[in-house]
């Protein structure tokens, strides 16, 4: 190795501590998940049976899909407060239009995925080309999407064929089909996207949009793409929720907006963009969803659930803030 090459290799070598810090989110989530499932199993051993594992997966997969979508937007330094609204809208569309025949089910599934891409594109266009702050833009579109859902389906109802529901929520041997759906969505969307230049562009834009622009990256198109991908994941989550509840509900998506952000932050995705993994938000959503589910199983009164959920959110968000505080001085916090 020439001296120049060894210097380069030394530059590339990331210190172990730094690498650990980058993986802190996913690692702590993995530990947390093991602890949560362990405690759950102590109280309710049946949870380790195939049926129990499938039910755990079923309560978590919708949030995991939403969190993965949210993470893509967060990686590009955006924010999508309309994830819940998109889920609600697509859930209501699916429940009102999905007939019983195989052809209509297939058509509606494809249509729903397209609607997800479109709602995501609306967000992306407003943010990337309309230059409205992501937070404000998606806050407004969330009302539009939820309002549209209420127009389509004013109160819970609609119907989902049993076959479709079973295909997404039951088990194939010991393997819950919902996990297959999650893995499929990740393999078919995340892996191709983040294996391609688009994925690197998303991270680059999220890390520093100005540098990305100066390097000649199509910043606006990248931002648009990130919102469309989030919409796609929201659509998959909405279809899964439709299958899980075999009906539509204009209030179904509400909790997913905040919880997807919390799961992403818990999994180590930075709210300021450019840093995060895929596995982190997925593990984070499993921890969050299983904790919320366990509260119900352990006879914690339903009235406490909002409180505990709010508390978890605040602690998770606060921890993210603490990390930011350690990063630099006060002035650095305002530099944008």
């Amino acid at each position: 190795m020439t001296p120049a090459e060894s210097r380069l290799a030394a530059l590339r070598r990331v210190p172990v501590a730094r690498r650990l810090a980058d993986r802190a989110g996913p690692l702590s989530c993995a530990v947390g998940l093991a602890v949560v499932v362990g405690l759950y199993a102590l109280r309710q051993p049946l949870i380790l049976s195939p049926f129990g594992l499938a039910s755990l997966a079923n309560v978590s997969v919708a949030l995991a899909l939403a969190a993965v979508g949210q993470s893509i937007v967060l990686l590009a330094a955006g924010l999508d407060l309309s994830i819940g609204g998109q889920i609600t809208l697509i859930n209501c569309v699916a429940a009102t239009t999905m007939g019983a025949s195989g052809l209509s089910v297939a058509t509606v599934v494809v249509a729903c995925l397209l609607i997800g891409l479109c709602t995501g594109a609306v967000n992306g266009l407003i943010v990337a080309y309309g230059r409205v702050e992501p937070l404000i833009a998606t806050f407004c579109t969330a009302f539009i999407f939820t309002g549209a859902a209420l127009v389509i389906l004013p109160r819970p109802g609609g119907a989902i064929p049993d076959g479709f529901a079973a295909a997404l929520t039951e088990s194939w041997g010991p393997l819950p089909l919902s996990l297959v759906l999650l893995a499929g969505a990740v393999l078919l969307v995340w892996i191709p996207v983040f294996g391609s230049p688009l994925g690197r562009y998303i991270v680059a834009v999220g890390d520093d949009a100005e540098s990305a622009r100066l390097s000649g990256l199509p910043v606006r198109r990248v931002e648009l793409a990130s919102y469309m991908l989030a919409g796609l994941f929201a659509a998959v989550a909405a279809l899964f929720l439709a299958a899980e509840t075999t009906s539509g509900d204009p209030g179904v998506g509400q909790i997913y907006t905040m919880n997807s952000i919390a799961a992403a932050v818990l999994g180590g995705v930075s709210l300021s963009g450019g840093r995060g993994t895929l596995i982190g938000p997925i593990l984070g959503s499993f921890v969050l969803a299983i904790v919320m589910n366990a509260l119900g199983v352990f006879n914690v009164s339903a009235f406490w659930q909002n409180f505990i959920e709010g508390l978890i959110l605040m602690v998770v968000l606060g921890l993210g803030g603490l990390r930011l505080l350690a990063a630099g001085n006060w002035l650095a916090l305002f530099r944008q």
């Binding site: 409205v132 009302f143 009235f303 803030g321």
Partner: protein
């Protein structure tokens, strides 16, 4: 340019039309247009009894919009209003019934307002969580507290007669709630325009780093702003309890978006540093009239949400600071 937000130097003519004033003027033009639209939809809007009803409703939204204006001026937002309202109303009236004393209700409402404000300030300032996410989480937490406290049973309440009078009574020809709003509005406008507090608020909204380097105690201003916002919501909670003669879960749910829409229509961009409460007053009236118009047009809840979202988006577009 954001520098227009500072109070106009004294050597200028007081009536000079700055971009700032044009925005405020624009919001009053919108108000006139919306009122004309209301009259076109229904002649009822010409009668005093209908207008009086709208003024009372405007007073509730207007008082919340004071805190919201402060928060938006420093570039933040406060979304914890709905359950601050509910929690304040339930706690205040229930404790007043238990201890059988009117003043307890006011003390509890103030306590709730200050507590929520401090909690918001801790998250937004000390922990640097974005205010939109943090205050929504706080809202969820407060919802939990309200549910736990009431145990989902309608609580026994004692509405303080003063709150009842402020919500339902009359002072001369004007509704008492409107008079209260007028007083609060005058204080808010005075605080923003004449007091050092107001100058610090605009300084932070324009450029937090510059404010920090100029020695502004950011923490104090953030705390003051969020506590003021919490107090406004808590006070409205008490007023609403007086208005409905009861306190119930979810009574604040309709008060999340309207005050924010009012501030934005009033010409304050959500990025902060520009605008003031004079514009918000027009915004509040616009929002209330629009709501009344949509109700008299018999528009469904879903369509109402869509119209609101689209309207807010359109105004965000109109007032956007095109810098990127």
């Amino acid at each position: 340019m954001k520098s227009a937000s500072a109070p106009t130097p004294s050597f200028r003519l007081p009536l000079q039309i700055t971009p700032e004033r044009r925005r405020v003027l624009f919001s009053y033009v919108i108000l006139l247009a919306v009122y004309a639209g209301c009259v076109a939809v229904s002649r009822d809007f010409l009668s005093w009894s209908t207008v009086r009803l709208q003024l009372v409703q405007a007073a509730f939204i207007g008082v919340i919009a004071i805190g919201e204006t402060f928060a938006i001026l420093i570039g933040q937002i406060d979304l914890s209003a709905p359950w601050t309202i509910t929690l304040s109303a339930i706690l205040a009236t229930n404790l007043a019934a238990q201890f059988n004393a009117q003043w307890i209700a006011f003390a509890v409402a103030i306590g709730v307002g200050v507590g929520v404000g401090l909690l918001n300030a801790i998250g937004v300032f000390a922990l640097r969580v974005h205010s939109l996410i943090w205050t929504l989480s706080v809202n969820l937490l407060l919802q939990g507290v309200a549910l736990i406290y009431s145990n989902a049973v309608a609580p026994t309440t004692r509405i303080p007669p003063v709150a009842g009078f402020l919500a339902l009574g009359n002072i001369g020809p004007a509704p008492a709630a409107f008079a209260l709003w007028a007083v609060c509005a005058a204080v808010a406008i005075g605080a923003l325009r004449l007091s050092p507090f107001g100058r610090l608020v605009y300084a932070i909204g324009n450029r937090p780093a510059a404010a920090l380097l100029s020695g502004v105690r950011l923490g104090r201003v953030y705390t003051a702003v969020f506590v003021a916002s919490g107090l406004c919501s808590a006070l409205v909670g008490l007023l609403l309890a007086g208005y409905a003669s009861q306190a119930y879960l979810g009574m604040g749910n309709d008060y999340l978006l309207p005050p924010i829409a009012a501030v934005v229509i009033g010409g304050a961009p959500l990025t902060g540093g520009v605008g003031g409460y004079v514009g918000s007053v027009a915004g509040v009236l616009v929002v209330v009239l629009l709501q009344a118009m949509l109700v008299s047009l018999d528009v469904s809840e879903g369509a109402r949400q869509m119209i609101f979202g689209a309207l807010l988006l359109a105004l965000a577009f109109a007032f956007i600071k095109r810098s990127r």
